[in-house]
């Protein structure tokens, strides 16, 4: 009995020795690691910092003819940059009631006015979050020595949220004209005078090619009524990352054939805000998106493109960046006949709680204006996550989209109540059932349950000639944590919503992918 005991002691001794040494080594390595962090060594070189674009409202120089001196394009772009920066520092200053940066963009006399406003607002506990969205500048005068410029900025679209003691007092959108004098001082164009003037509205006319329209509650495509029988689409290997490194147009082409053969006529795809390059959309991503759209056109599939996926900032000073993002995407494809609609954002109502309902709705409203300005040819919708939100922003959209993952039994009730209030086409943009019966969910729905769910749903939808888009074509093997979080049972559920399983075999539900 003694010998094994001794062996156990030996083993324990050796193991604890190893563990102690391991611990010491780990400790030392951590100290080394810590000593090696800190400022990047290249910072010694004081290299020029790359300036980041933080404020990008649309600015258009309507004319630069003036009696003084011919405007050079280089100078014009410097004036434009400094003028917008002046607006930016002003917006930031009024948001925080802090005068940081004002000196650089307002001359000594002009900055006094801002300081006084800041002091007053600060003492009244008022702060204002604002941004300008559009500027239309007309040059009035540029002096011969190139040091002084006067211009009129018309139809300045300004959006402001005014807070008193941190609670929102009101929200205001204004269209204003300003006459501005700027002087070149210390290499900066600084504002010397700024006078608000009467604004004479000038409307830019926007012509639609009427490829997609909504008439009498019906979606029309090329003058024919169109009923959406669609599916939310991600390639099986790259869910939530369709345009990433694994982008393979051949795989997508095969999928589109499957979708077409199944009798569907529409797909919904997702354009991610960060992945596409935020305010500076990458050409590579646009090319990929174009090839997908071209393919859809070949297969005669309509596309609902959901923008701003994984975007969640909404802060007012970020607005103009999102506007430039959408401008580059939407105007690029404004004549593409594969597109049925731009879906501004997927389930924005989920951000109401964290970002504020008012802020999110204002952002969506302005975004719908932006999209319509840049692409009058395609429809606009918002993919609400629940039927209750569907009544929001009805004036901004062409058709209503909502998602439904609740009990099938309640659907008819909910749908009929939503429908009765809304006179725009209604699209059930996401619905589905995960056949995730297994380790993580032993009592969950099986493939048979999923099939009968779709069967019943098709019946309801046929009776009501509903527009629908199911979730989704494939079962996935990987689901990024950014979608449903890190919890394995949640991920597991997301992996089994497909009509086709991970081996490429059609599941039982596939039979009911359409109503045929």
């Amino acid at each position: 009995m003694i010998a094994p005991n001794r062996n156990i002691y030996r083993i324990l001794l050796v193991l604890s020795f190893l563990a102690l040494n391991g611990g010491i080594l780990y400790g030392i390595s951590q100290v080394f690691l810590f000593l090696n962090t800190g400022a990047d060594r290249t910072s010694m070189l004081n290299l020029t910092k790359k300036s980041q674009q933080v404020y990008l409202p649309k600015i258009i120089w309507k004319d630069t003819l003036n009696p003084g001196r011919t405007m050079e394009s280089q100078t014009l772009s410097e004036i434009q940059q400094d003028y917008l920066d002046a607006w930016y520092v002003k917006n930031v200053a009024y948001k925080a009631n802090d005068s940081f940066g004002i000196n650089d963009f307002y001359t000594q006399n002009a900055r006094k006015n801002l300081y006084k406003t800041i002091d007053d607002n600060s003492s009244k506990k008022v702060h204002i979050e604002g941004t300008t969205i559009k500027h239309n500048t007309h040059l009035d005068f540029y002096s011969a020595d190139g040091q002084l410029v006067v211009f009129t900025d018309k139809n300045v679209k300004e959006y402001q949220r005014i807070y008193k003691e941190d609670s929102l007092l009101l929200e205001k959108e204004t269209l204003t004209a300003y006459k501005v004098m700027m002087l070149l001082e210390d290499g900066f164009w600084k504002i010397r005078h700024m006078v608000k003037e009467a604004n004479l509205l000038e409307q830019d006319s926007i012509e639609s090619n009427k490829k997609t329209v909504v008439i009498n509650g019906k979606i029309m495509v090329k003058e024919e009524p169109f009923y959406i029988k669609g599916i939310n689409y991600y390639p099986q290997k790259s869910p939530w990352d369709m345009f990433g490194d694994n982008f393979d147009i051949d795989v997508i082409a095969e999928d589109f054939e499957i979708i077409k053969a199944a009798g569907l006529n529409t797909i919904r795809i997702f354009v991610q805000y960060e992945d596409f390059g935020k305010a500076k959309v990458s050409l590579d991503k646009l090319t990929k998106l174009r090839s997908v759209l071209d393919l859809a056109e070949q297969e005669n599939l309509q596309v609902v493109a959901t923008l701003f996926d994984f975007y969640g900032d909404y802060s007012i000073l970020d607005w103009t960046l999102t506007h430039r993002h959408v401008e580059q995407i939407v105007s690029e494809f404004k004549n593409h006949s594969a597109i049925l609609a731009w879906d501004i954002k997927n389930e924005p109502n989920l951000d109401f709680e964290s970002r504020g309902k008012g802020l999110v709705l204002s952002w969506l409203k302005e975004m719908s204006n932006q999209i319509r300005d840049f692409d009058p040819n395609h429809l606009i919708t918002i993919g609400w996550s629940d039927p209750e939100s569907a009544k929001l922003l009805l004036d901004e959209i062409d058709f209503v989209s909502f998602h439904y993952y609740r009990d099938l039994e309640d659907f008819v009730d909910v749908y009929d109540t939503v429908l009765s209030k809304i006179d725009k086409p209604i699209v059930l943009q996401e619905f589905g059932l995960s056949s995730n019966k297994g380790l993580w969910n032993p009592f969950g729905p099986s493939e048979e349950d999923q099939a009968s769910y779709y069967k019943d749903f098709q019946k309801i939808m046929t009776e009501r000639t509903m527009h629908y888009m199911s979730w989704t074509l494939y079962d996935f093997t990987e689901v990024p944590s950014s979608v449903v979080g890190k919890l394995p049972w949640r991920k597991h559920k997301q992996k089994h919503f497909g009509f086709i399983d991970k081996d490429g075999k059609q599941k039982k539900a596939f039979e009911f992918i359409t109503d045929k």
Binding site: D120, S143, D145, Q160, T174, M181, E197
Partner: protein
């Protein structure tokens, strides 16, 4: 927990719920507030006290949101004679421009209107003037621009069509022009005259006068000119200095070019080589200097103000100072004494004249020795260690004389 306790707890909760339920009921009276009298102000002079008066159906604490040229703010109303009065803070009432205001009560916009604040002409006028560029070229093509930005005492730009008087003086001329301001400014292009000099500029708006500004008018581009040569003697002694002097260089309007204008003197000698010297002008005259050649020469000299004007070419000839000099060989021809070298008046040549000795063997140049004269003599030594005893050909060159000694035994 027995049954009795359970009933107690239930009753307690029930009463709690009821009380919450009843306290939640409040009357929201926002919709009842109506505006009985609207403010009637449309335009106000800057600097005057500005109040916006509303008569509301009830005395409630409403707020006024103001959107102005430089920013926005919220003004709290006060009650006065049954009206709700909003007094603009000074920094708003002193600044020109439209003020959009919105009456807000309980986060609702009740009324929106606009007030225009005008420049106050009754206050003292101030002026900022911007003149540029500060210097221009004579001849009437170039101009400087004067931009006058008049403001009232509160730093508001004056209204359009305010008279701006711009005066300028040049030599005997004094001129006054009246302009109407537009886009905050009055401005004038002041063109140069044919003469160079200084134009003085000033301006006046609403009886306020600016200070004096000056535009420097510089002469235009140099025209062609002539040069002459000034020298102590005409001998090529390699010692004295010749000066080349321009006439007064002028522009097409007879203005003498600016002091410091660079003139390049370009000299071509007999063998086609180019020599250059430079001078800058004072009162239009530039002087370039060059050491005399050390042999007979004919120089062609032309001067340029590069890219603008040039002189006529002049020829300058130099006479040789001597025809020949004596060469004496000593120490088995290894020591060569040249001299005495005498100059044009038989005086001993000043030190520093250059002579060359070239040593050839069978038509191959072995070495060139260069020495300068000292006290009228140049002495060359040909060392035995470098040149063993043999026959060599020696050539002596300098001061325009060339002497050849063939197959000399060393």
């Amino acid at each position: 927990m027995n049954l009795k306790q359970g009933i107690h707890v239930f009753t307690l909760l029930f009463v709690l719920f009821l009380s919450i339920g009843f306290t939640m009921v409040t009357i929201d009276s926002t919709d009842d507030i109506t505006i009985v009298e609207f403010p009637d102000k449309k335009t106000v002079l800057a600097g005057t006290e500005i109040t916006i008066n509303y008569k509301l159906s009830e005395q409630v604490s409403a707020q006024l949101f103001c959107h102005t040229s430089y920013g926005s703010t919220i003004i709290d109303g006060i009650f006065k004679n049954g009206e709700t009065v909003f007094k603009f803070p000074e920094y708003i009432s002193k600044k020109k421009g439209l003020v959009d205001y919105t009456l807000v009560y309980n986060n609702k916009k009740l009324h929106t209107s606009t007030l225009e604040i005008l420049t106050n002409k009754n206050t003292e006028t101030h002026m900022e003037s911007y003149l540029g560029p500060p210097s221009i070229i004579a001849g009437g093509m170039d101009y400087a621009m004067l931009v006058v930005v008049p403001t009232d005492d509160y730093d508001n730009p004056v209204a359009d069509s305010t008279e701006v008087i711009i005066r300028h003086q040049f030599l005997n001329l004094e001129k006054e022009d009246i302009y109407l301001s537009d886009s905050f400014i009055g401005w004038k292009n002041i063109f140069s005259y044919e003469q160079s000099g200084r134009i003085l500029v000033s301006s006046e708006v609403q009886n306020t006068n600016s200070k004096e500004y000056a535009i420097e008018v510089f002469p235009a581009q140099a025209e062609d000119f002539v040069i002459r040569c000034k020298r102590k003697h005409e001998y090529a002694d390699g010692n004295q200095i010749s000066s080349f002097i321009t006439s007064a260089i002028k522009d097409q309007f007879d203005n003498i070019v600016v002091d410091g204008t660079l003139v390049e003197f370009s000299i071509t000698n007999t063998s086609g080589m180019l020599l250059k010297t430079y001078g800058t002008t004072i009162n239009g005259i530039a002087e370039g200097k060059m050491l005399h050649p050390d042999k007979k020469e004919l120089w062609n000299v032309t001067a340029y103000v590069v890219g603008m004007g040039m002189s006529k070419t002049i020829d300058v000839a130099y006479k040789p100072i001597l025809e020949d000099y004596t060469v004496v060989f000593k120490d088995d021809n290894r020591k060569i004494i040249i001299g005495p070298i005498s100059s044009f008046m038989k005086q001993i040549l000043p030190d520093g004249a250059i002579l060359k000795l070239k040593i050839f063997k069978d038509d191959t140049l072995l070495e060139t020795k260069i020495k300068t004269s000292s006290k009228g003599y140049v002495i060359f030594n040909i060392e035995q260690s470098f040149f063993p005893n043999d026959t060599y050909t020696l050539i002596i060159e300098g001061l325009g004389v060339l002497k050849e000694f063939n197959d000399l035994q060393l």
